[in-house]
Amino acid sequence: MNVNLTLVGELIAFVVFVLFCMKFVWPPIIAAIEDRQKVIADGLAASERAAKDLELAQDNAKAQLKEAKAQAAEIVDAAKKREAQVIEEAAVKAQAERDKIIASGHTEIESERNRAKEELRKQVAVLAIAGAEKILERSIDAAAHGDILDKLVAEL
């Protein structure tokens, strides 16, 4: 129980242990801990940054998608408009063509009719003469009765 030389011995042991701990034990362990803490902190920061980047990229992609959709809708609209326009143009053109064809048909019919009329008149004149000849049993001088014939043709 008494204090004796052991005190000095223990004091020396204490000093030696503390010095050993200070030189060879504490620095490597605390360095390992702090390095690891730094590595973990860096990793966490990096993952956070990556998450932020991802979010940004997702936002970006969303915006781009939206824009693309809008553009697509615009293009479809324009295409529809153009389609309608083309159809209308085509219709107008077709109408015009039709009208032209009908008109030309009409004129052709008209001219055909006129020609037929003319033909008919001539044939009627010939027939009338032939009929008249038969009735009269004699020939009529076409030159002498030309005026009568012309009058007849004109009446047809």
């Binding site: 223990e10 004091l11 042991a13």
Partner: protein, 274 residues
Amino acid sequence: MAADTGSYIKHHLTNAQMCSTDTGIAFNEACANAGFMTLNIDTLLWSIVLGLVFLLTFRSVAKKATTGVPGKLQCAVEMIVGFVDSSVKETFHGKNKLIAPLSLTIFVWVLLMNAMDWVPVDLIPTIAQLIGGTMGVDPHDVYIKSVPTTDLNMTFALSLGVFFLVIFYSIKIKGFGGFMKELTFQPFNHWAFVPVNFILETVTLLARPLSLALRLFGNLYAGELIFILIATIGLFQLPVHFLWAAFHLLVIPLQAFIFMMLTIVYLSLAHEDH
């Protein structure tokens, strides 16, 4: 029985001693008159063995310390080191390369020495007596006290070490004049109070190592004494011993922690410049 119990307890509380006398190196009872020039060899042996256990374990981890994935031992060691480091950083705000390793040494060393309290009180003395018996020594002459912190020499060695550091850093940081001023102009800042202040502050200063050493010694000595008393009550000692040992789950780390914490506090006080 009473005399037996008395001698049993006394035997357990006696250190193995060594001293040099006129006839050469002597042991135990022969050293009764050697006075200060005596060594408690059991205290020295156990404290140094435990100190080496601490240092070699931690050193082996320190050598293989990796910043990658740590092994289990490294995890355990890092937990202790991290705990001590945060305790130091919470209390001590200056820059000092000594305080953290000092605190670690004190905490783990005192913890290990206190932990010897858990070893059944008769185990180590019985083994020592058997070994002594084979060497032809009377078993009653073989003493061994395996808990170094139940020896005042041990606790005073630690507290005096801390005390010297406190004085050293006080003078280093504040200068000798500053240190003296702190001793003489507190708590009453007037020249007339210088002697009163000096007495008060000196008592305060000296009370620190004294209380540090006596607190640790008292707790562990009392705990060990109760363990020895429990060991004398026969078969019924088993549950009682278990309870007391379980209670020491609290006492042993707490005393180590208190010693470490007060060391940090005293040293940070020494670093404070008023």
